[in-house]
């Protein structure tokens, strides 16, 4: 195979700028999606542990819907199908009038998809704690919401830091699918560099290294959270 290696292409304008911009969009999509995933997922995970049957069912329906449809299909459903089945004005707004339609569609899609995974972690975390803690929280007069806020969730989150790390990493990797609806994130930009310069090996190597750098940073950050929130005297929770 005849291939002319040219690493310099990566630091040549405009390609360096493309990589930087792609990296920026990847981070922007992932972080916004993670915020949605974390809060929505926590709410749904809590719903699945309450005593109220209707909430439990609603939570289960959400999780089973969003985790059982391929993410790529969800991306298309949000971007191509949803605007068509809404009333015309709402559909037009989604397609055209709202700022950055591709970006926000990707964020909502990735956020709601990941929320289903976060919900399952939160549910597992709370169920691990056991009824005794829940009873103790209620027995001192906390309302059910206060019991979740002050006791069950703070303990539950500590238990699920390691699996949450995986989901957080998943958001970064899955954000590459946003290219299919036209978000020029890292994968899209590096592919474009490959097409413009025929230096696909170099550009995808750059993408690989940047994704690795991001995920290792996330892992270090989560490890830090895990250590800092570890409960003194407890071995089963927190850092090892």
């Amino acid at each position: 195979m005849q291939y002319n290696w040219n690493w310099a292409v990566l630091i040549t304008e405009p390609y360096l700028g493309w990589i930087a911009s792609g990296f920026g969009w990847t981070v922007a999509v992932s972080c916004a999606a993670w915020i949605i995933a974390f809060f929505l997922g926590s709410a749904i995970g809590v719903m699945r542990t309450t005593e109220i049957r209707a909430l439990r069912i609603a939570g289960a329906v959400y999780v089973e819907t969003f985790r059982n449809i391929p993410l790529l299909v969800q991306m298309f459903l949000w971007y191509f199908v949803l605007p068509e089945i809404l009333p015309k004005s709402a559909g037009d707004w989604l397609k055209r009038d709202m700022p950055l339609p591709e970006y926000w569609t990707a964020v909502v899609c990735l956020g709601t998809y990941t929320a289903a995974r976060v919900a399952e972690q939160v549910r597992a975390g709370i169920n691990t704690i056991g009824r005794g803690q829940h009873f103790a929280a209620l027995a001192i007069g906390l309302t059910p919401i206060q019991a979740y806020r002050n006791v069950l969730l703070p303990i539950g989150y500590r238990i699920i830091v390691p699996p949450l790390t995986s989901d957080f990493l998943g958001v970064f990797k899955n954000s590459s699918l946003a290219l299919t609806i036209g978000v020029l994130e890292l994968t899209a930009q590096t592919r474009q560099i490959g097409e413009y310069t025929f230096q696909g090996f170099e550009s995808f190597t750059a993408a690989t290294l940047i994704y690795l750098a991001v995920t290792f940073t996330v892992m270090a950050f989560m490890r830090r959270i895990e250590t800092r929130t570890a409960i003194p005297g407890m071995i089963s929770l927190g850092a090892k």
Binding site: L138, I140, G141, V151, I231, P232
Partner: protein, 242 residues
């Protein structure tokens, strides 16, 4: 103070509580004993509504526990509860455990709550452990903190659900001592326990349960005297034989 009238409860077809009726007067200490699976723990958890009865009624200070319009968090705040497995909140310190309800439920300031917490810790002999986390304490210490946490809410009554069953033998007495002190101070107490020594020392009445029913409900003297029934006799002979 606590009135239990014909309380019944089923777990699907299994009847855990069968028409239980008893009462605890203000300042009274009532010990509930009986073989495991007899419904003691379930009964005591129904008093503050952690478990629900399906038939009958329970009132605390005139407030019906099961009524739909009852403010359960408010009712529970006024009744202290101590659990078999302590159930301290592991992610916060001892003093924060005692402060949580005071601040979130009673609306006390942090300083006010801490003063009260430290005074109670002193009372149970643990004021030096205030800033430790529960997992750094022994079982007996944790249970004493749990008692302090319940007392911090200034309860009108205290419920104890087998408070010494999960403890190593050498730690049982440090918890019982605190409970005896409470009883002697006039606290209204409902105590599920097998500690017959404790019952003999401070109980006013003994309730003996078997298979979800209250079989005996007598004064302490009658219970430990000769007038107890056959089933209670059998139970006592089993737990007192060693």
């Amino acid at each position: 103070m606590i009135e239990i009238q014909n309380a019944s409860k089923w777990y699907s077809a299994f009847r855990v509580l069968n028409d239980c009726t008893t009462r605890v007067a203000k300042g009274e200490v009532v010990v509930i004993c009986g073989p495991s699976g007899s419904g003691k723990s379930t009964l005591i958890k129904c008093v503050n509504g952690l478990e629900r009865i399906q038939r009958g009624s329970i009132t605390v200070n005139g407030v019906s526990v099961g009524a739909p319009d009852t403010d359960l968090p408010k009712l529970r705040a006024g009744i202290g509860m101590v659990f078999q497995n302590f159930e301290l909140f592991p992610h916060i310190t001892v003093v924060q455990n005692i402060n949580l309800g005071q601040i979130k439920v009673l609306g006390r300031s942090k300083d006010e709550a801490t003063d009260r917490a430290l005074a109670l810790l002193r009372r149970v002999g643990l004021h030096e452990q205030a800033d430790k986390y529960p997992a750094q304490l022994s079982g007996g210490q944790q249970q004493r903190v749990a008692i302090a946490r319940a007392l911090a809410m200034d309860p009108v009554a205290m419920l104890f659900d087998e408070p010494t069953s999960a403890l190593d033998p050498e730690m049982i007495n440090e918890v019982l001592d605190v409970m005896v002190g409470l009883a002697q101070d006039g606290m209204t107490m409902m105590v599920v326990t097998h500690e017959m020594g404790f019952a003999k020392k401070v109980a006013n009445r003994i309730v003996f349960m078997d298979e979800g029913q209250i079989v005996e409900d007598t004064t302490k003297d009658e219970f430990f005297g000769t007038r107890r029934g056959e089933r209670a006799q059998l139970f006592l002979s089993k737990i007192l034989s060693h």
